[in-house]
């Protein structure tokens, strides 16, 4: 059995270095360590319970909770947080449902919780990261491009036409992490799922099959989430009548 308590020594090293560097991160490190412990412990018990139950409704409830937590986290970076939450929830929900649904329909994975939950978790986690980058980048791009956007509007452009350049730039920025990960997968980092399978004793040739599917699945889900959120998020910056919101300049 892996010695969890002994691994606290590693946290001790991080604390020691923070103290020496006077980075004042000690409380953050302690809070992070405790949170990780409690969150993982809780999810361990919850998953144990759900895996044993084999009931679809509990699994869906857990997946919904995961989507909502992801949406809440991303929405902290949105220009309008409440609107951002609903947009992110819709984007994450749709991206996860479509991708996982397609994988089940194509019989790539089965509907057992032990497949569906970890696969969905990977999808939601990666999509959430992309969504956060999208929100953050959109606001700064729209602010930076305000004169050009208004110039385009004044020439008779719709908000979609006027905002196309900042929207495109934000879409590209939010896709960079997953694209870079897909490009170097196996060369620099062995992803979590594959690492887990190798530790559990699977043959590397078997583990890579899953990993390939997982990478493609995440790429698809992130694209869906980001496209949908991008489409919806125009409402955060524009008013009816093809007009930039007053608050964006402040």
């Amino acid at each position: 059995m892996i010695k969890v308590w002994a691994s606290l020594l590693l946290v001790g090293i991080a604390l020691f270095l923070s103290r020496i560097e006077r980075a004042r991160l000690e409380s953050d490190i302690i809070i992070g360590t405790v949170r990780a412990f409690v969150q993982l412990l809780a999810i361990g018990y919850i998953l144990d319970y759900i895996f044993d139950l084999r009931r679809v409704e509990y699994m869906l409830l857990l997946l919904t909770a995961m989507v909502l937590v992801g949406a809440f986290t991303s929405s902290r970076r949105a220009f309008r947080k409440r609107q951002g939450f609903f947009m992110a929830a819709l984007g994450l929900g749709a991206g996860t449902a479509l991708t996982i649904g397609l994988m089940v329909a194509l019989k790539i994975i089965s509907t057992e919780p032990k497949f569906l939950i970890p696969f969905s978790g990977m999808v939601i986690g990666n999509s959430m990261r992309a969504c956060s980058i999208l929100f953050e980048r959109l606001t700064s791009e729209v602010r930076l491009s305000t004169p050009r956007i208004e110039a385009a509007l004044a020439l008779g452009a719709t908000t979609a036409q006027a905002a196309s350049a900042p929207m495109r730039a934000s879409f590209r920025a939010s896709m960079i992490p997953i694209l870079d990960t897909v490009k170097v997968v196996g060369l620099i980092q062995l992803p979590g799922a594959m690492t887990g399978m190798l530790i559990a004793g699977a043959r590397p040739t078997e583990a890579i099959k899953y990993q390939i599917v997982i990478m493609y699945m995440i790429l698809c889900a992130v694209s869906i989430t980001v496209s949908l959120v991008l489409f919806l998020s125009r409402r955060m910056y524009f008013e009816p009548g093809h007009r930039l919101a007053d608050t964006i300049a402040q």
Partner: protein, 251 residues
């Protein structure tokens, strides 16, 4: 003379940050009325922060008033299709923001939005705005502030507007560019284009305007023919501003 624009009781309160960053209400426009006739050069004159730009932006609905109405060709601007309204009422901003690409692409932006693919018109528009056709294939990034302003004017003209709104259009220009800009305004008005221009440059207003609306602190102070505003019977507050004795309010 036909009336192009009529503004009735326009008011607007904006929330602007004070020294502590708290938003405080400020009445930037207070019950403004005026009318602009077809083919005239109408200048909105006033100190910095007097609400001129906000007023101009309301004419093509880039900004909305809290109360009041604006009629364009007798019809409330709210009833116009906003995209059509903005093609008919073109706008040139104080700091021109050009798009990435060539001058020709920039000039034809509005043109292409309408699905028009005629490139030949770009050269003619550019020379109307006072730039040689040699600029057509230059990148918009290489231009000086004055050249950018001319491209912005050409680009607004590409939509064949009936009214052209201009916000301090020659504030960044050297004296010779300023003169060529003023020439453009006179010529454009001569061809029937209605020009509504915002400036705080009293002398430029005097040289160009048929009529002047004077705004101080969001309030209409005068709406007069230019020669009357500069004459003996002008309102006292107008005289004070025109003589340069008015405290400039900061935004």
């Amino acid at each position: 003379m036909k009336e192009r624009l009529r503004v009735i009781g326009l008011s607007k309160t904006k929330y602007l940050p004070d020294k502590n960053g708290r938003l405080q209400p400020k009445k930037v426009l207070d019950n403004i009325d005026f009318a602009v006739n077809d083919g005239e050069v109408f200048v909105i004159l006033g100190p910095t922060g007097s609400g001129k730009t906000t007023l101009l932006r309301m004419l093509n609905r880039l900004d909305v008033p809290d109360s009041g109405r604006i009629l364009f060709d007798g019809k409330d601007t709210e009833e116009w299709d906003v995209l059509e309204l903005r093609r008919k009422i073109g706008m040139v901003f104080q700091t021109p923001a050009l798009f990435d690409g060539t001058v020709e692409e920039d000039v034809l932006y509005g043109h292409r939005l309408r699905g028009d693919k005629d490139h030949a018109i770009a050269a003619e528009l550019l020379s109307k705005a006072g730039l040689s056709t040699g600029f057509l294939h230059r990148s918009t990034r290489e231009l000086s502030a004055g050249e950018k302003q001319k491209v912005a004017i050409a680009r607004a003209l590409a939509n064949q507007p009936e009214v052209l709104l201009m916000d301090e259009p020659s504030s960044a220009q050297d004296p010779s560019s300023k003169a060529s800009f003023e020439n453009f305004v006179r010529k454009a008005a001569g061809t029937g284009l209605t020009v509504v221009m915002v400036t705080h440059d009293v002398e430029q207003a005097r040289r160009l305007a048929n009529r002047i609306l004077l705004i101080v602190d969001g309030q209409k102070t005068a709406e007069e023919e230019t020669r009357r505003l500069f004459g003996e019977d002008a309102p006292e507050i107008a005289k004070r501003f025109l003589e340069g004795n008015m405290e400039v309010t900061q935004e």
